[in-house]
């Protein structure tokens, strides 16, 4: 279906063709919104538990099991020091995963629902949209001062 079609995209039978903006309450009951919410919350809790939990566990291990942490690896590097460096790696990976996850899994759906709130002509569903360059990206690099 072409993007400028006056008819709303009714590929999801849940939405009746509208002539007015969808209310947040309606969106809230949309099964797709529910899966968006579940996915978003699950990722946030898991990633937080992993990165913050790993660090607090590291502190507890260092305090209460120093024998394990003092295991020498190479030269003066002990297991504890290596795990400490590992915290920075965990952080970098988490930040990278977060940015990717939000860009690919969350943003398309969120954009879709937001355009429904605004009552714009509906965009194609996220699956189709993923092939076109994401507009948010272009926006991020334009219109700013040079650095």
């Amino acid at each position: 279906m072409p993007e400028f079609s006056p008819w709303p995209d009714d590929s999801s039978a849940f939405h009746a063709p509208q002539s007015r903006p969808i209310s947040p309450q309606q969106i809230s009951h949309d099964p797709e919104f529910r899966s968006l919410r579940r996915a978003r919350l699950r990722f946030a809790t898991r990633a937080t538990a992993l990165s913050v939990g790993a660090f607090l566990l590291y502190v507890l291990l260092s305090s209460f099991a120093p024998g394990v942490m003092n295991e020498p690896l190479i030269g003066h590097f002990t297991l504890g020091l290596a795990l400490g460096l590992g915290q920075f790696v965990v952080m970098a990976v988490t930040a990278w995963r977060y940015a990717t996850y939000m860009r690919t899994k969350v943003d398309p759906l969120a954009d879709h629902f937001r355009s429904q709130l605004r009552h714009e002509p509906l965009r194609p569903r996220p699956a189709a949209q993923a092939q076109t360059p994401a507009p948010a990206q272009a926006q991020g690099t334009r219109g700013f001062p040079t650095w």
């Binding site: 947040p24 400490g84 977060y98 940015a99 969120a110 990206q137």
Partner: protein
């Protein structure tokens, strides 16, 4: 606190520091006044220039987030206690994960100017008492942290001139405090942003170059650095093992865990950091900014660890501990050893600018909360005009600055780290539960918010009052009396669960019908508003 001091720097670097500091202050004040809100627009005063690029936003976030405590205090801790100090630096980095994963985007989508706006959107009918409670907690956290920064400036000055006379001390606090008030009240958020970005660039460059210099001295071989540090630490290999500082007993281990908990959870709820998250124009820009900030914060903390180890390896523990018992002098001593007077002057200038920038951010955050939540919504019930609220915000900035100066003059001998830790504990036990519940818990009610805000604030303050910080040990405020029945110096391990528990309890005890409708809020939090 400090035994001998003049040893840190010679006259040349003192003068150079002064000239450098003065030129940075003059340049930033000038820019701050130029970029200050020209019209009486309250949004510009609270949020600043909203078209900044992600890198600049990330630098400003990093600037707000890392205080002089990280630059001087944590490196000192690493220099004196090795492994335990490194764990402390790790906590500072990990805390930013909380901001990125849980708080940043939901807060940006539901927030306007202050944390109160988010909570008011969530429970519109009972917003006034909750806004009042939020303003009280924000004020408590910001004032404590502000006093910590000002006390830190006196401690820093001590390293140049030796124990300062009361007149020098007052002059130092008043001068720094006045500059802070000018940034916050005249410049608003645009002014605070200018100084944050300049400070962040100086911090990142300064500490990375110093760390590189240290590594270069040890032939870029970390193992040589570690063994040299262990050699000169006076503790041998124990320096590279946990327990040097906190390992004496189970109590001190728990104390350390309590501190880490308050840092990891509390840094994420500091009012000036939260306010900074609202500034970017769109959620996309915010996300890139926060990811930039992850990198910058990680880099600074990592480099600070190398600098701390380098200080021990190059200067030796004895000199560091003799100069300042808390280790705050380690960076400057190392700079003097490596680069002579010039590097010392550069790094001390950096430390003063860092103090200044964080203090300005805090004053601005507290002033916004007072003007927007307390004056605009509680006292004037939303009927204040923008011009009126802006005037109140400027006056509130002056008021908070003066209050901070007075408290700092009274408490100048206090340990600035202790004050900062109490601020983190209050932020983690009062502000964080309300923030997290408001965003993610469907049933959360105003009663729960009030109970967790006031409960978290009171429990953390009371626990510190009855802890060894206040009485019973030689380093306490009242060393002669003993009413310390709480054994830990850091209340976090008890007060943070208490804050969350009280929020839950207040919600469960209130009528189910009191829960405000969550659906609309949730859609806004995950999708955004129609006009975004």
């Amino acid at each position: 606190m400090v035994t001998t001091s003049a040893a840190v720097t010679d006259n040349f670097s003192l003068q150079l520091t002064f000239v450098l500091f003065l030129s940075v202050v003059v340049a930033t004040l000038f820019t701050a006044l130029l970029t200050a809100p020209q019209r009486d627009e309250i949004g510009e005063f609270y949020l600043g220039n909203r078209t900044m690029s992600p890198l600049r936003n990330g630098l400003a976030m990093c600037g707000d987030y890392l205080s002089a405590a990280t630059l001087l205090g944590s490196t000192g801790l690493v220099a004196l206690t090795g492994y335990d100090g490194l764990m402390y630096l790790g906590g500072t980095t990990v805390a930013w994960m909380m901001v990125m994963l849980l708080i940043a985007e939901p807060l940006r989508r539901t927030g306007k100017f202050t944390l109160g706006d988010t909570v008011a959107l969530r429970m519109p009918r009972q917003q006034r008492p909750v806004r009042l409670a939020l303003a009280v907690c924000t004020l408590a956290v910001a004032t404590l942290y502000l006093v910590a920064q000002l006390v830190g400036s006196v401690a820093l000055l001590t390293q140049f001139t030796g124990e300062p006379s009361p007149a020098t001390r007052t002059l130092c606090v008043v001068v720094i405090g006045t500059i802070v008030i000018m940034y916050a009240s005249l410049g608003g958020m645009p002014g605070a942003t200018v100084i944050q970005i300049i400070k962040a660039v100086m911090l990142v460059v300064g500490i990375t170059v110093t760390a590189g210099w240290v590594l270069h001295r040890f032939d870029w071989n970390p193992n040589t650095l570690l063994s040299a540090a262990a050699d000169r630490s006076g503790n041998g290999l124990q320096f590279l093992e946990p327990g040097l500082r906190y390992g004496a007993s189970t109590t001190s281990k728990l104390d350390f865990f309590s501190l880490e908990l308050a840092i990891v959870l509390g840094l994420a709820a500091l009012p000036h950091v939260l306010m900074r998250l609202l500034a970017p124009r769109s959620v996309g820009v915010l996300r890139s900014s926060v990811v930039w900030a992850v990198g910058l914060v990680g880099l600074v903390c990592f480099a600070a660890g190398i600098v701390g180890l380098g200080a021990t390896a190059v200067v030796g523990r004895e000199t560091i501990a003799d100069t300042d018992r808390t280790g705050n002098a380690s960076v400057l001593l190392l700079a003097h050893e490596l680069g002579g007077g010039v590097l010392t002057a550069l790094l001390s200038c950096l430390a003063f600018v860092t103090l200044l920038a964080v203090a300005a951010g805090l004053t601005l955050a507290a002033a916004s909360s007072l003007a927007h939540d307390l004056y605009g919504e509680v006292i004037r019930k939303g009927r204040a005009s923008e011009r009126e609220e802006l005037t109140v915000a400027r006056l509130a900035g002056v008021l908070i600055g003066v209050l901070g100066m007075l408290l700092a003059l009274v408490a100048w001998g206090a340990n600035s780290a202790t004050l900062a830790f109490l601020a983190f504990a209050i932020a983690a036990s009062a502000l964080l539960p309300t923030l997290v519940y408001s965003l993610f818990w469907k049933r959360f009610t105003a009663k729960g918010a009030l109970l967790s805000l006031y409960g978290g604030l009171i429990s953390s303050v009371l626990l510190v009052v009855f802890s060894p910080v206040v009485s019973s040990t030689p380093t306490s405020i009242y060393p002669t009396s003993d009413f310390a029945w709480f054994p830990l110096q850091n209340p976090g391990i008890v007060s943070i669960p208490a804050g969350f528990l009280l929020g839950w309890l207040g919600t469960v005890l209130s009528d189910r019908r009191e829960s405000a409708p969550y659906e609309e809020f949730e859609v806004r939090m995950l999708v955004g508003a129609a006009d975004e």
